[in-house]
Symmetry: C2
Subunit: 174 residues, 2 copies
């Protein structure tokens, strides 16, 4: 999936979630990504640098509500913006993992049921989907999926060792 400057024109199609005739209408791509998220049965592992896009957050919350195990890793410095979806996740019982580091968690990938990977250059923000030149690659090839599965576990282990308590304190979540 490719996104580019001409996607800006398709922003109105988001209101009704109906793509236009253009093959690269970003609403078409968005619907495809949501389709994959909605297809999750067991697990949804998400590692995204910057996540503000409501429609994608809603698909993740739907997954949680049908008992899919949802795990989210975010970049700490991007969780402090007004548009971050972090509070919506917390309200729905999903606790994203993030940690203040002197480096960036710059990934933009999602793993569905340990079977499909979506990865690329795109952060999950409306402006990235509707205007930027971006790409998303979707594959179920195990030679690609498996390393992402392992890396997600590795990062999660690395960040959760001391993260959970800090986050809960900072966000005053009970």
């Amino acid at each position: 999936m490719f996104f580019s400057q001409d996607c800006t024109l398709c922003r109105p199609h988001l209101r009704c979630m109906k793509p236009c005739a253009k093959l690269n209408c970003p609403v078409r791509h968005l619907r495809r990504i949501i389709y994959y998220l909605d297809s999750a049965i067991h697990t949804l592992d998400i590692c995204i640098y910057f996540f503000t896009f409501t429609e994608l957050a809603e698909a993740i919350i739907r997954a949680k509500n049908r008992n899919v195990v949802v795990r989210i890793i975010l970049e700490d410095s991007m969780t402090h913006t007004d548009k971050s979806q972090i509070m919506n996740f917390y309200k729905e019982g999903i606790k994203p993992v993030f940690k203040s580091l002197d480096v960036l968690v710059h990934h933009k990938f999602v793993i569905i049921d340990n079977n499909i990977v979506m990865t690329g250059s795109i952060n999950w923000t409306k402006s990235a989907f509707f205007g930027n030149f971006e790409n998303v690659l979707v594959t179920n090839e195990s030679a690609i999926v498996k390393p992402f599965v392992n890396e997600f576990e590795r990062i999660l282990t690395m960040l959760t060792a001391t993260t959970t308590e800090t986050n809960s304190e900072t966000l005053d979540i009970h």
Copy 2:
């Protein structure tokens, strides 16, 4: 290829370009990327948001010097930083294409001989390679490579329509 926080420790290995025993030593990954760049025979198509990494620029210049056709698309707003490799490319006769837009050229991919794609989350900067959590996927699967080839041509056509003259004037290159 995955990069993460522990890669920071491997920064000294860059001096001699020798990786340590760690499987994810970033110098090991860097050498692999340079190996692919050095293997280019016909074309090297590069579309990178932020490009400051000297060792990678040198590999591209080597390709140019062995008569590989090198085409580079960069994000305009990132070419004004001190560390941008743009002037080094110009000095060597490579003219990157960039254009001031109200959206970002956020891709991070390279196509070698229309046959191999390297794509992922990583910008070509030293800090991204030595510390950030990042990924690079390398594939020669034509179902993946071909769309990237088409998209590169599409972006290049879109940007070059009015770009070349503007760039030359702005940079005062003769």
